[in-house]
């Protein structure tokens, strides 16, 4: 029995010894690869740790930067908020100013409309005044024309007055001469004149305008181009002639300022009286 157990133990010892040898050989065989793998893993782990540290540093740096940026952004946000608040207040103030400005604008618009109406009224008044000025200017021009005419007339009248004064002096001389002549002929100038005094016949020259005989052809009337303005008077005898030929003698029957009518009282056979023949008081 002990022998069998010893044998079994010996075999088991052998089996386990072989297994131990195999496992030790396997460990010796694969330990280099395991070590390399471990070293590689260690290296990777170190690299990973370095990377982790780098990333941690980057993370810390980024965190710091982000924190700083966050603070800056917060500060900027606060500034912008303050600015926005200021702008909001400015906007409110501007809105208030705008409302005031609109009120001012409306007021000015009303004033402008009033001013426009007033200006329109002024324009109308100006136009009326302009028309009045034009009318007054025309009146002034007319008055100037009238004044010039009156001045011309005044000058003419002054000339006539001077001429009249000259004639007056001449007449006074003639009167003195006539008085002397009357006294020389022993005639008192203060004696009354008895009977009609023949008018002074002045030299008047005109033309025959028309000659017409009556129905019975017993009388012939002649219209001449001179009248009372030229010194022609009623019953004045005038001579009708053509060139140097005596034609007839007429006696004025009707006198007008610019014409006269005479009756033929003496007629010759030198020709008939026609339009355009000459007529005079002293042939």
């Amino acid at each position: 029995m002990n022998n069998i157990v010893s044998k079994i133990l010996i075999v088991a010892n052998l089996v386990f010894s072989l297994c131990f040898m195999c496992f030790a050989g396997a460990v010796f065989t694969f330990q280099a690869g395991w070590r390399d793998k471990a070293n590689k893993t260690q290296t990777q782990l170190a690299s990973a740790n370095d990377a982790v540290k780098q990333l941690q540093g980057d993370k810390d740096l980024l965190t710091t930067n982000f924190t700083k940026n966050l603070e800056d952004q917060k500060a900027r946000a606060n500034n912008f908020e303050a600015k926005v608040n200021g702008l909001d207040q400015n906007l409110k103030q501007a809105i208030g100013n705008l409302a005031n400005a609109e009120k001012e604008r409306d007021k000015h618009l009303v004033d402008l409309q009033v001013a426009q109406k007033e200006a329109q009224a002024r324009i109308t008044e100006t136009n009326i005044a302009r028309d009045e000025i034009k009318r007054l200017r025309d009146q002034n021009n007319e008055a100037i024309t009238v004044r010039r005419g009156l001045e011309d007339k005044s000058l003419g009248l002054e000339g006539e007055i001077a001429e009249a004064e000259t004639r007056e002096v001449q007449f006074l001389k003639e009167i003195t001469h006539l008085n002397d002549l009357l006294r020389f002929n022993k005639i008192d100038p203060r004696d009354p004149i008895i009977g009609p005094v023949p008018k002074i016949i002045e030299l008047v020259k005109g033309e025959v305008v028309e000659s017409r005989k009556n129905a019975s052809r017993s009388a012939e009337h002649v219209q001449i181009s001179v009248g009372s303005d030229d010194g022609v008077f009623k019953n004045l005898k005038m001579t009708v002639y053509r060139d140097s030929n005596f034609l007839a003698t007429i006696q004025i029957t009707d006198v007008y300022p610019d014409k006269a009518v005479g009756l033929v009282i003496e007629e010759t056979r030198n020709g008939t009286i026609e339009r355009g023949d000459n007529v005079t008081t002293k042939f």
Binding site: V11, S17, M21, A24, G25, V27, F28
Partner: protein
């Protein structure tokens, strides 16, 4: 004391083989531990 002589059997050989295997295994482990520099950590 009587000396009982016996012939070596196969089991004696197996014992020596087992001893050799254990020695070889120990050598392998020593070499392996030498590869790690005798450091456990």
């Amino acid at each position: 004391m009587s000396q009982q002589s016996s012939d070596p059997t196969i089991y004696d050989g197996l014992m020596f083989v087992s001893l050799g295997a254990v020695i070889v295994g120990i050598v392998f482990l020593i070499l392996a531990l030498d590869g790690y520099g005798w450091s456990a950590g």
